[in-house]
Symmetry: C2
Subunit: 158 residues, 2 copies
DNA sequence: CGTTGATGGTTACATTTTCAACCATTATGG
DNA sequence: CCATAATGGTTGAAAATGTAACCATCAACG
């Protein structure tokens, strides 16, 4: 059969399934879009990041990052400060309220993920991890045919 | 670290990476959206399907399926015929031109996928397959917490 | 310096997707 | 039968995304 067993299909299906529970949390419960949530996570992990650094880390297209930052700023969760050396760049960082929000949401997200994976044994988790690691190495090792990052790539959740 | 190693993130990243090459084909070369391509695949595999059956197989939200069918019909690749028993349902099937189109596109899609996976050994492919199979079983076995299908779920490519 | 080209980031516009409401038809239950 | 609810499918408006163009600044080089 053409469809089943086809790799991009399988990955997209699983990505969607695993994202469902967490999306409900950041989206419905906290009114965040996916880019906003991802930017929030990355800002919480580091002290401050420019939009370009966020693009590389998130990873997402710069327009999404730009809009996510604007939305989070409007919400009072992020501030942006200009750079002294290079006046093109702006350093974004979480406000205290932003950090509090992240501290509230993060455990909900982790709990939802863990609940979803609860039925898996340690052995099974290793099997999953090994499979994904193979593909990750593939794209790490073979950047050919792949846009030089900052691409309009999309990745869900946290 | 919170972000890396997080399952939905990893799956989405890989889904996006593996979808990139095939998307360029159905989209740029053949002017199809993702829902249209997926509907095309499923209609090519079976003789005829109703929109509801497509929703279950694709799987995608019914509005996407509806619009994909309309687009393919406008393109002359699909026809829809009413049901004798139940006048709400319509059976969609590919026209000869639709089948020809699929026959043209399919090998391109398969070649792109195979080219992408070419660096992987048979052993590595088994590892990938085993990992994905674990997760697939998880969602097969545990339909709890998951909308009763026909959900607005999204899956890429073929 | 002045021109040219790259880079960081935003904005505008077209396309897609989501969400809810909707129509038509069929099932259900007094 | 009649009312109510459920189902198959479509549509419209709002939200999100993709794409390209754009502005400002900086870097390179004559």
């Amino acid at each position: 059969m053409f469809l089943k067993g086809y790799l991009p299909y399988r990955l997209n299906y699983l990505a969607e399934m695993t994202s469902e529970a967490t999306r409900a949390i950041y989206r419905r419960r906290h009114g965040l879009t996916r880019p906003e949530w991802r930017v929030l996570v990355n800002l919480a992990e580091t002290d401050s990041l420019t939009a370009t650094e966020l693009c590389a880390r998130v990873p997402m297209h710069k327009t999404k990052v730009s809009r996510a930052l604007s939305a989070l700023e409007a919400r009072g969760w992020v501030t942006r400060a200009g750079d002294a050396q290079d006046r093109r760049v702006a350093h974004a960082r979480l406000t205290p309220r932003g950090r509090q929000a992240f501290a509230r949401i993060r455990p909900e997200m982790e709990a939802a993920t863990e609940a979803m994976l609860a039925p898996l044994s340690a052995e099974e988790r290793r099997t999953v991890d090994a499979g994904l690691a193979v593909l990750e190495r593939l794209f790490e090792a073979q950047p050919t045919g792949r846009r030089q990052r900052q691409s309009e790539f999309e990745a869900d959740d946290a």
